[in-house]
Symmetry: C2
Subunit: 204 residues, 2 copies
């Protein structure tokens, strides 16, 4: 199955600015994209990176579109056969197993919600469904599917639900991640900090 | 399988004080406990509420122990046969399906991590394992299991990973919850607020 992986190639992960400068944020975004593309291949998907600016990749097709996220994804949906998937590029603890469960979930539209109302992955088996990532997108995608008579299901996965936007999200990578994303954080001095309440991270 | 459900019967959910007064927080904690006990019954578990003070429940055995969480749970583990489970009382979007997957996961110790390093549910098939909820407990529980030669596995569930501590956690209940916890929030005027970035809640 083909999968769109939207990627901000210009100024990614701005909410991590408290920990990383612009070059580091771009490097970290690249490492997460590597990880997501690798997991997609391992789970039998054919990824296309949908980037806001040209990127050089040997492991995936690249399509450049500098419009808004929703417009760019919908343009791909206009061109592609169903079923296909849209998977965010910042799923730092994604595994092939989680993607296997995602693909095995029945329904015309399968939503993998992100924490806080986002849509971290969407599997579209219905031709008429389009995306809108603005606002409470997991709710809006369910409503959009219903509006064209499509059934929706939700996949229950912490790994799919964890997109890496804020410093607190890095806790999940340090605890549940492996491979290159985890290694990148370690190399850049990011460690867990536990002093009561929820665990946070700090950089040395 | 028997399941321990630890419950703070005195001053629960203090991090929700910005939204709810003490009586409301106690009522909301009760509603979440109702929900968790109901889901456990539906999934074939036999719940025992392990409360810090006497509580009146017709749907579960009650055991009162006002010691620390870890000491109280370990005292039950001293008394009970294996396998048994420990499931937190504030899993506001828990479903019987998520519990079914939890129980079906192999391993001497099955960890359902909470967001931010906690342990939201633990399935213990090994007699020598004890709990310690202080600090980064999901990591510590894996290490404790390894220390006694027990295998550990992790269950990948957003529903098990979502404990309700902070206002932002209520977003998940409003989006993915159903039944009485969702209804309680609606009745008390809690709604989603989306104005860019992650979605939050507000109370009217």
């Amino acid at each position: 199955m083909r999968a769109i992986v939207p990627f901000d190639a210009r100024d990614p992960k701005t909410r991590l600015s408290v920990l990383f400068d612009a070059d580091e944020r771009r490097a970290f975004a690249d490492v997460m994209l590597d990880h997501v593309v690798e997991a997609l291949h391992a789970a039998g998907f054919e990824p296309t990176v949908l980037a806001t600016a040209p990127v050089d990749r040997s492991d995936a097709t690249v399509r450049v579109d500098d419009r808004s996220l929703s417009a760019a994804v919908n343009s791909v949906l206009d061109d592609w056969e169903r079923p296909c998937a849209i998977v965010m590029a910042d799923l730092g603890i994604l595994t092939p197993n989680a993607l296997d469960r995602f693909r095995a979930t029945s329904g015309d539209v399968v939503v993998a919600p992100g924490r806080g109302g986002g849509t971290n992955a969407l599997l579209v088996r219905e031709p008429d469904v389009r995306v809108d990532y603005h606002g409470v997108s997991c709710r809006d995608h369910r409503a959009a599917a219903r509006a064209v008579g499509a059934s929706t299901t939700t996949v229950d996965s912490m790994r799919l639900a964890t997109d890496i936007d804020e410093p607190s999200d890095l806790v999940e990578v340090l605890l549940h991640g492996s491979g290159r994303v985890h290694e990148w954080l370690r190399t850049h001095g990011v460690t867990l900090r536990a002093d009561g309440g929820r665990v946070t991270v700090e950089r040395s």
